[in-house]
């Protein structure tokens, strides 16, 4: 099941499989779209339903997907997370090919928040839950929680990219990362 490590030019290695990348960028686009169309039901709702399907697929992929797509590979224990954060503070954070512990924790929070947002949004359009205050409150709260989370996620991408001399945004587009830390050779920025 594990993807055969593809190693090409410049010691690049395939880290993010196509589904992870399609999921990532589609979610970015659709959540942005939904955020700005909350008064256009048709667009907002459709975007939300697609996000719901994508998130559910991503969760399944977290169990059966490629190596670095799996939860097993990146969900950190609290201890590991605290230690990694301390390592950033002391400039000794190790580079990870997949998600580092802080990134892994971020993804768990983002997925949960996306799921709560999408499910509560969908519920608020069903006859059973239409107009029920706690459902729409939950939807708003969760949607607005996404903003600081996305901000933190971007901050983490910058910090991690700088620490290890690599371009993580590009890696999420091409799926490739250098096998070794970028400090020793090649420029990717």
């Amino acid at each position: 099941m594990a993807e055969v490590a593809f190693q090409g030019r410049d010691g690049l290695i395939r880290v993010w499989d196509p589904f992870v990348r399609i999921f990532h960028w589609s979610t970015v686009g659709l959540v942005t779209l939904a955020f700005f169309t909350d008064d256009d039901r048709a667009v907002h709702d459709t975007a939300g339903y697609v996000v719901l399907v994508l998130v559910l697929a991503r969760i399944i992929w977290g169990f059966v997907g490629s190596e670095h797509a799996r939860f097993r590979d990146f969900v950190p224990s609290p201890r590991k997370l605290v230690r990694y954060l301390a390592d950033i503070g002391s400039c000794s954070a190790r580079r990870h090919l997949g998600h580092n512990p802080a990134g892994g924790a971020m993804i768990v929070m983002l997925l949960i928040t996306l799921l709560v947002t999408a499910v509560s949004g969908w519920l608020s359009e069903t006859d059973a839950f239409f107009g029920v205050p706690w459902v729409s409150h939950l939807h708003h709260r969760a949607a607005h929680l996404l903003l600081p989370l996305v901000g933190l996620h971007l901050l983490g991408v910058i910090v991690s990219s700088r620490m290890h001399g690599e371009n993580l945004v590009l890696a999420m587009i091409t799926g490739c990362k250098r096998r070794r830390s970028g400090r020793s050779g090649g420029s990717q920025m």
Partner: protein, 86 residues
Amino acid sequence: MYRIVLTAAAAVLLLNGAALAEESCKSSGKPLPKSEIEKKLTDQGYVKIRGLEFHDGCYEAKGFDKAGKRFELEIDAATGKIVTRE
């Protein structure tokens, strides 16, 4: 690249502030009590009121009308008049 990501991060955080400052509904005078709004709505056929909440001078009501159709109303809190129906 940092600049792009940083700009995006800043934009997202700004949005955060903007999003929290939600639209307000202009209404002057003392808001009527919920029970009175409910009565007015029921009299107008908005019989099954699911949620009735007060936001910045307006009541927002959601539910089903006599015909079983969904309604979403903004109500002037002082007069009890329906401002918009969706």
